[in-house]
Symmetry: C2
Subunit: 198 residues, 2 copies
């Protein structure tokens, strides 16, 4: 398999982390996340949104969207439950991550720590408020559960770990979310865990 990848992207890290835990080999093709010229030529036929990660399967089929890739790789493994309601809850958290978490925490990290060119203050304020609300929602849930779904480590935890564990790079203070902090340590202690810069 070939992964169109960036070492600083949490969305790409999700896929690298699961591939490591599954013990699967793959090649990496690094894509620039700041200079986006050339994206149409590189990814236009592979990914409607021209984003990374994009995974090319061994038969040449391209697969886009980090959380769809996680689901594809985790199917029939210990990282995705087989029970119907538990599977729907995994998906619920995957969509929560892409709608209520990533656009705030990952985008603010991108502007402040990667691109280093800040958007207007009103956008920063909106991302801070949205990110804080997402962390609060996670903290409330994780104060009652060891993991996000079914009391076990799943791709829901992988998806939300990716940008939560670097939320301080977006200026968020995780000490305000103690159940999230304890959960981050549980996720990092899973077998075959790798860091984002591996």
């Amino acid at each position: 398999m070939l992964l169109y990848d960036s070492p600083v992207s949490g969305n790409c890290y999700k896929v690298r982390l699961l591939l490591a835990q599954l013990g699967l080999d793959y090649e990496r093709h690094e894509v620039d996340v700041i200079d986006r010229s050339g994206r149409a030529e590189l990814l236009g036929d592979l990914n409607p949104a021209m984003r990374i990660p994009t995974l090319i399967l061994d038969d040449g089929t391209p697969l886009a969207e980090s959380n769809a890739i996680l689901w594809y790789l985790a199917e029939d493994t210990e990282y995705l439950p087989g029970e119907k309601v538990a599977r729907a809850k995994v998906l619920q958290w995957l969509f929560f991550e892409q709608y209520s978490h990533e656009p705030h925490i990952a985008m603010l990290r991108y502007w402040l720590s990667i691109a280093r060119t800040a958007p207007p203050q009103s956008r920063i304020d909106a991302m801070r408020a949205g990110g804080f609300a997402a962390l609060q929602a996670m903290d409330r849930h994780l104060s009652r559960s060891a993991f996000l779904v079914a009391e076990r480590y799943t791709i829901a935890d992988i998806a939300l770990y990716a940008y939560t564990h670097v939320a301080h790079e977006a200026g968020f203070d995780l000490s305000e979310h103690p159940a999230v902090s304890r959960w981050l340590a549980r996720v990092a202690a899973q077998p075959q865990h790798i860091p984002i810069d591996a």
Copy 2:
């Protein structure tokens, strides 16, 4: 089943449309999408993001995120393929919808046609550009395929139909996206189709 619902929400319409096509009965509890006070009391224990739709299953289990609800309801029906790559492609388009389409087209429709209190012009411009790019990506794909995945009607089509068919309420001109316009007609012609205001 009980659906926390709004008649103007495309995210809720997705669920109502699939429930109609599956022939399933349910109750509707209308939730205000403009006045969001009281959301924590109403949905705080049911939905981490406190959004609608939220579906309460017959055993009392709450399920959040429109596209996770679609997946749960469509599993083992004609609206979700059984083949692994096709399922991943359905998920790819569901995540595309929530990340690259809904935040632009649905949000702009909300501000211009529902709340009628516009955000700053820079936000409007960003939503117009993002929405146009999403419609272009769909148009490119649909110029080669009758439906989004596997040449058949699936929940990927339902999810993207919901806000695309009312994109004119956000000021988008669908005549600029002819393959999308033809696909909208194909989706509306499916058996047991219902309109958003049904």
